[in-house]
């Protein structure tokens, strides 16, 4: 038992946790409670939010817009990207707009969305969908375009049709790009949903943060932040699994 604790791989993270949370506790207690909260206070607040059901309800609201929006973005974004990458003329026509959208700070779109979709669920859904869809399709298209020319030639020499070319050469070759698109898309989806909840309609986890700041309850804000972090981690882990599943031909490293 002691032996195990002394091993650096166990010992160091433990020390780091104790130091960080201990430090946080000490600093948290010495600062005005309206501005900052120690871990003990966050934990207490967490229990209270769970008891009233506020946190669960908020998380459900966020998860609904986030997962539905992201799901739609994946379902639309990947085929769209494949089309753009494989059908170069189509891609060339759309590329400048997509890049412009891709590079524009997403906040500037918020007022437009209010005009088009109001401030409710649809508006948040669109925010999530649109931003992550663009990232996913731009990356997918890039992956398809970066297909290995020698393998394209192989497929052509055996008379593969356009569809077979896409299915057996372009898409498998694009998978690493698609996965990185999915990652960027996931990050954008989370930011999108939180922005929507903080600035459009004050609901969900973003809403909890906004309310926490208005009510001067930093512990409440930190609770919401923690849940958002967990959500993000779940998505990233899921993507890692997907990636491994699609790349099993590479075998163990």
């Amino acid at each position: 038992m002691i032996d195990k604790l002394i091993r650096p791989s166990v010992f160091l993270p433990l020390v780091s946790l104790v130091v960080v949370f201990g430090g946080w506790e000490i600093v948290g207690r010495s600062i005005n409670p309206l501005l900052f909260a120690p871990p003990s206070e966050v934990l207490r607040q967490f229990g209270e939010l769970l008891q009233t059901g506020e946190l669960q309800d908020a998380a459900m609201v966020t998860v609904r817009a986030l997962f539905l929006g992201y799901f739609l973005a994946v379902v639309v974004g990947i085929p769209f990207g494949i089309l753009m990458g494989a059908w170069t003329r189509f891609g060339d026509i759309l590329q400048p707009y997509l890049y412009a959208i891709f590079a524009t700070p997403r906040v500037v779109l918020v007022p437009l969305i209010v005009v088009w979709f109001g401030i409710g669920f649809e508006a948040r859904l669109f925010l999530v969908f649109f931003w992550s869809m663009i990232a996913i399709s731009v990356n997918t298209a890039q992956g398809v375009r970066h297909a290995r020319p020698d393998l394209v030639e192989v497929a052509r020499s055996f008379q593969a049709t356009r569809l077979q070319m896409a299915r057996h050469v372009l898409i498998p070759g694009a998978i690493p790009f698609v996965v990185s698109g999915l990652r960027i898309g996931a990050e954008r989806a989370i930011v999108g949903v939180i922005i929507g909840e903080m600035f459009l309609q004050i609901v969900g986890l973003g809403g909890v943060i906004t309310k926490g700041s208005q009510e001067l309850l930093p512990a409440k804000m930190l609770c919401a932040v923690a849940v958002i972090a967990v959500l993000g981690t779940i998505i990233v882990t899921a993507l890692d699994t997907v990636e491994k599943r699609f790349q099993d031909w590479k075998g163990a490293p």
Partner: protein
């Protein structure tokens, strides 16, 4: 065996010319890669092509495969002009061209699957050729788990599985170590003799060019032209006697080297003047 050769050539090239443009600019530099190639390749013949680097060998093979079109001239396969890749020709690539995400069997099945063969039948054909190249133990392996020689066996099995009469091979053993290469040369000769394939085989290796060939095509340094076509009159099978010591082998090899060397020396002289 080779007396069944029919009157129609397997491949006929008529006045093939090809120019490459190096960029999209209007006044970009152009490279004349092939300058009027005429050639008839008999059915069942093993033709090797040798020539200085950059003389247009790969370009010629890709034109024969209809992977690119010539600016002028015609490719005629078994009597019919062709402009697209077809079922009678199969390529073996220098860098193997295996799909890394497909297992050996799926790579070999690929040309059959593309042509919508019945799955069971396709598998049977593919397995036959995987066995033929001696890879039965690696049916489900992925390319990265195989050595270069084994990967090229897969490439060969894939080309054979198409059932094409004509094999187009661009330096297929160029990236393979010398001992494995000798073994594969022998196996290729056996397979081609059994199955009466017509083979166009590009190589940089003089020994290989002479060892395999019924005829050697020597190309001149760019712009690519046919410099000479040499008959290699050596008895087959060539692997059960000391073919490299045979008088004809030595003579043809020496002649080819002499010609190639002249070409290189001229090139150096031009470059330094």
């Amino acid at each position: 065996m080779k007396d069944t050769v029919l009157d129609i050539p397997a491949i006929e090239l008529k006045g093939i010319r090809k120019t490459f443009t190096l960029s999209e600019d209007r006044d970009a530099k152009t490279v004349l890669a092939l300058d009027g190639v005429d050639l008839k390749i008999r059915q069942g013949e093993f033709l090797t092509i040798i020539g200085p680097s950059g003389c247009g060998k790969t370009t010629l093979l890709r034109i024969i495969a209809s992977l690119i079109l010539p600016d002028e001239g015609e490719v005629i396969v078994e009597g019919e002009p062709v402009r697209e890749p077809g079922i009678k020709r199969a390529m073996v690539f220098q860098t193997f061209g295996l799909f890394p995400w497909k297992s050996v069997i799926d790579n070999v099945i690929f040309p059959l699957m593309v042509r919508k063969f019945d799955a069971a039948e396709a598998r049977e054909i593919a397995m036959k050729h995987i066995r033929q190249v001696g890879l039965d133990k690696f049916v489900d392996a992925y390319p990265h788990q195989l050595s270069g020689g084994m990967q090229q066996r897969v490439g060969l099995a894939r080309a054979l599985s198409t059932g094409a009469d004509i094999l187009l091979m661009d330096e297929p053993f160029g990236a393979i170590d010398a001992q494995t290469r000798e073994l594969m040369q022998e196996e290729l000769m056996k397979i081609c003799q059994q199955e009466q394939k017509t083979v166009v085989f590009i190589t940089h290796d003089l020994d290989e060019a002479v060892l395999l060939a019924d005829r050697v095509l020597l190309m001149s340094r760019g712009p690519g032209r046919v410099r000479e076509v040499i008959d290699v009159d050596l008895p087959r099978p060539r692997f059960d006697y000391d073919v490299r010591g045979h008088e004809t082998f030595v003579k043809v090899r020496a002649h080819l080297w002499h010609e190639l060397r002249n070409d290189l020396v001229e090139q150096r002289a031009e470059e330094t003047s």
